[in-house]
């Protein structure tokens, strides 16, 4: 499409605003911190060790998440059973949990006093320890396997039904289907998913430290913490923030280089029927994959719920008020996310290859943005214009939206590309532009991914503590902050109750927004 006359300008106009905002919030805040610093020193051996550990644990976490997601997504894509939609939604729950809650849930299963070790001891076997690199990876897989499954499932059901029909008519079995249909899809989809999870794990801090067992498990984000609040060295904090961004860019370039764009064209809107997966062995394999995943992901959540349910009715009023505030922030954050991600995804899908790669990489940067740097940078800039406390909720919503943007963009992009490839010319030839095109073409074709990404953004915002500390105002505490306050006041039982409330609200919000957007509905 190199020579198209108009869209270049339109691309700039559509994608430019969100891209500029994104740059301001990520690199701009980093620059703000740099400018405030008194000088920038070099990185010491401890920091280099932290960088090595960060990359290694992120690599392992992404690898395991992706590999394990394949059988699960395949099983979900080719089986239909009652409760499938609910299972898909529930499997997404760990991803939207606040870190501390998830860690407590994981420890209830895998910890020293957890169910697994109780079982091992009962069987007369030696207990296993979760603390160490294995714990870090386990927790990251717990968080990110749901994301990998969901993104992969989306790619799976986007293989047009006609291809499966063709395969069936040619007498292809599961092996040939895998070779001709599924492997090319995986080849196209997995690098991006791997990258996203790798980047999420790059900025891990609380999980890595709590389950890593000690200073061996020091990540770059912890080093940023140390620079900020132990050494009061803004320069080093900003330098480490820059290291994170560079790691992000390097990983993105690498992932884009090995990504093969999927070559599947448009199919008409028909239900996918699979003729190849009827064998009992394949059925058993799928049942196993789903059952194991469900236990791994849902058991910790069930234990959190059991532990906190009793405290739920007696929660202090302040917690309910915080819950309401968090809900509003989440809805605001979802709205901002969509209004940034949709134009960005549309721009990427219409841009020339080079510009598309650049925008796509840019959209991933928030994943590698330290929320401490983001919060501090925003604080440095905004405090000259308003009392930070009055900005607490809008800033939280905006920051949460920024952090959700990479997910939303990644979810919208394949469908945006498909719409552009399949119907872009037709819409252009009919002079469909602006709101009309959005209403008649983009929204109806993208309704599934739009609802999914809005739900995800809302839920992520619910659980995020993120940047609020510098802007916090005692009167506008969000639910996660209130949860931490309960813990800090020794009220661990109320905190457990608040965790259940948070879990329930995040999930309900996600479910309501995403409902009807099951990926096998008309995509």
């Amino acid at each position: 499409m190199a020579g198209r006359t108009q869209p270049i300008i339109r691309t700039l106009a559509v994608g430019g605003a969100p891209a500029a905002l994104l740059l301001m919030l990520t690199l701009g805040t980093l620059v703000a911190v740099f400018l405030r610093a008194d000088g920038v020193g070099a990185l010491g051996p401890a920091e280099w060790a932290a960088i090595r550990f960060t990359i290694w644990q992120a690599f392992l976490s992404a690898l395991f998440s992706c590999v394990l997601a394949i059988p699960v997504a395949r099983a979900l894509s080719r089986r239909s059973f009652p409760g499938r939609a609910l299972l898909i939604a529930l499997l997404g729950a760990p991803f939207i949990l606040p870190v501390i809650v998830a860690v407590m849930g994981l420890l209830a299963v895998f910890g020293r006093a957890g169910m697994l070790n109780a079982g091992l001891v009962w069987l007369g076997l030696p207990p296993v320890s979760i603390y160490g690199l294995q714990g870090v990876v386990l927790a990251h897989v717990f968080f990110n396997l749901p994301l990998a499954v969901r993104l992969l499932l989306q790619s799976w059901v986007e293989i047009p039904a006609e291809r499966f029909r063709l395969a069936a008519s040619l007498g292809m079995g599961p092996a040939e289907i895998a070779r001709y249909l599924e492997r090319p899809m995986l080849r196209a989809a997995l690098p991006g998913i791997f990258l996203a999870i790798f980047l999420i794990c790059l900025t891990s801090f609380a999980v890595a430290l709590t389950l890593g067992g000690g200073p061996r498990a020091t990540t770059v984000e912890l080093a940023i913490y140390q620079a900020f609040r132990f050494d009061f060295d803004l320069g080093r904090a900003a330098l480490l923030g820059l290291v994170q961004v560079c790691l992000c860019l390097a990983a993105s370039v690498l992932a884009l280089a090995i990504t093969n764009p999927s070559a599947f064209g448009a199919g008409l809107d028909r239900q996918v029927a699979r003729w190849d997966a009827a064998g009992p062995w394949l059925k058993a394999q799928d049942v196993m994959a789903l059952a194991l995943t469900a236990v791994f992901l849902l058991l910790p959540l069930a234990l959190i719920t059991l532990r906190g349910l009793a405290a739920l009715p007696g929660l202090p009023e302040a917690v309910w008020a915080a819950a309401l505030r968090s809900l509003l922030v989440a809805l605001g954050s979802a709205a901002v996310t969509i209004s940034l991600a949709l134009p960005l995804a549309m721009a990427i899908s219409r841009a020339s290859a080079g510009a598309a790669s650049a925008l796509e990489t840019l959209a991933m940067i928030p994943l590698a943005t330290s929320s401490l740097v983001l919060g501090t940078g925003l604080f440095l800039v905004l405090r000259h214009y308003a009392d930070p406390a009055t900005l607490a909720l809008p800033v939280t919503a905006a920051a949460n939206a920024t952090l959700a943007l990479p997910f939303a963009t990644r979810i919208l992009l394949p469908s945006a590309r498909a719409v552009e490839a399949d119907y872009g010319r037709l819409a252009d030839s009919l002079d469909m532009t602006g709101i009309g095109r959005l209403r008649l073409l983009t929204f109806p074709r993208l309704v599934g991914p739009l609802r999914f990404s809005a739900g995800l953004a809302a839920a992520l915002s619910m659980g995020d503590l993120g940047v609020i500390t510098l802007f916090a105002d005692p009167q506008t505490a969000t639910l996660p902050l209130q949860l931490y306050r309960l813990m800090a006041a020794y009220r661990m039982e109320d905190a457990a109750g608040a965790a259940v409330l948070l879990l329930g609200l995040s999930f309900a919000l996600f479910w309501i927004i995403d409902k009807g957007a099951r990926p096998d509905a008309r995509a």
Binding site: F232, L393, Y484, M487
Partner: protein, 331 residues
């Protein structure tokens, strides 16, 4: 449209600006987040001080003591804060070096186990770091770090780089063992289940049974006793003494409310403030109230020896102590 109006309305009703009565002077106090929470001392302190100051007391909470200082250092001289409340003695050297603080000019009688003469910072509460355990689960209670290291007890501690108790523990071992501190850490390594980013995570892990003991305060069992009627938690008394945490407040030289500021610092060591501390911050008040301490406090372990580095020394020694800690636990 409706939704955004709702959000705007919510913001308007909850932001301090709209709550400010125009004629009253505003006193802005920076503190750590748990001080201002519903369950911290903040609400009671605010009510008591506003009762007769004719002013509006605004608490601004951010993170913990170290985050608080970081924020202040970022803002520098044009910080809107009049008072910073919630630094501990491991942070005051850095705070004093910033030149942002002015002498408090107060000389109240205090009930601290150590003398106090800092011209810039005034204590409002204090406590001893200690390992807290469950009496029903631990039979042999170690009497010092060496005994703890030799035992097979599992402990959770906090990271000194991200947590003030973690930093306190670092200096505790350093002051008790000096040159031998690195060795103690090496021996403790197999007792440490994990290192958490903050106090809350560590204490939560302990209560969920992940460890036999957790680094906290000698006053922690008082919470369980008073608030929950649970007397199973206790602190381990260590023969080499316990490191102290003294929490202080200081006035900012650039404050535009110097009179109110002085008034608050004087108020801080009166009963009205001090009597709130024990059962909200779960620390010892800097000046014991007339009515004495709450009943449960009488059952607490009282260390025979108090350890505390002077602020300057704490600042100069912590990098070396941190390096020892990291080296010992990274092996």
């Amino acid at each position: 449209m409706r939704k955004s109006l709702m959000i705007a309305g919510l913001l308007a009703t909850t932001t301090p600006f709209s709550a400010v009565a125009q004629d009253k002077p505003v006193l802005t106090i920076y503190t750590y987040d748990s001080f201002v929470s519903e369950w911290g001392p903040g609400p009671a302190v605010k009510a008591a001080f506003e009762a007769d100051c004719g002013c509006d007391l605004q608490f601004v909470g951010s993170g913990d003591g170290a985050a608080l200082l970081a924020r202040l250092l970022i803002e520098g001289a044009d910080s809107p804060a009049d008072i910073v409340l919630g630094l501990d003695t491991n942070l005051t050297a850095e705070a004093a070096a910033s030149g942002l603080f002015a002498p408090h000019g107060q000389a109240p009688a205090l009930d601290l186990p150590v003398g106090w003469s800092d011209p810039l910072f005034l204590p409002y509460d204090w406590g001893y770091f200690a390992f807290v355990y469950d009496k029903t689960k631990v039979d042999t209670v170690p009497s010092d770090f060496e005994a703890l290291a030799a035992s097979d007890l599992k402990i959770v501690i906090q990271d000194p780089r991200s947590s003030t108790p973690g930093l306190g523990l670092l200096l505790w071992v350093k002051q008790a063992y000096g040159e031998k501190a690195g060795g103690i850490w090496s021996e403790l390594a197999d007792n440490i289940v994990t290192v958490t980013p903050g106090w809350s995570e560590a204490y939560g892990l302990f209560l969920n049974g992940e460890a036999d003991a957790v680094l906290s305060y000698t006053t922690s069992p008082a919470y369980h006793l008073i608030a929950e009627g649970d007397d199973t938690k206790a602190a381990m008394p260590f023969d080499e003494g316990h490191y102290m945490q003294i929490e202080v407040a200081g006035k900012l030289a650039a404050s535009d409310q110097p009179d109110l500021t002085d008034r608050f610092l004087a108020f801080m060591t009166t009963d009205a403030f001090q009597s709130v501390i024990p059962e909200t911050n779960w620390m010892y008040p800097a000046k014991t109230p007339e009515a004495g301490l709450p009943e449960g406090f009488g059952t607490l372990v009282v260390p025979g020896k108090s350890l505390l580095y002077p602020a300057d020394e704490a600042r100069s020694i912590r990098d070396e102590a941190l390096a020892e800690w990291q080296a010992a636990l990274s092996r």
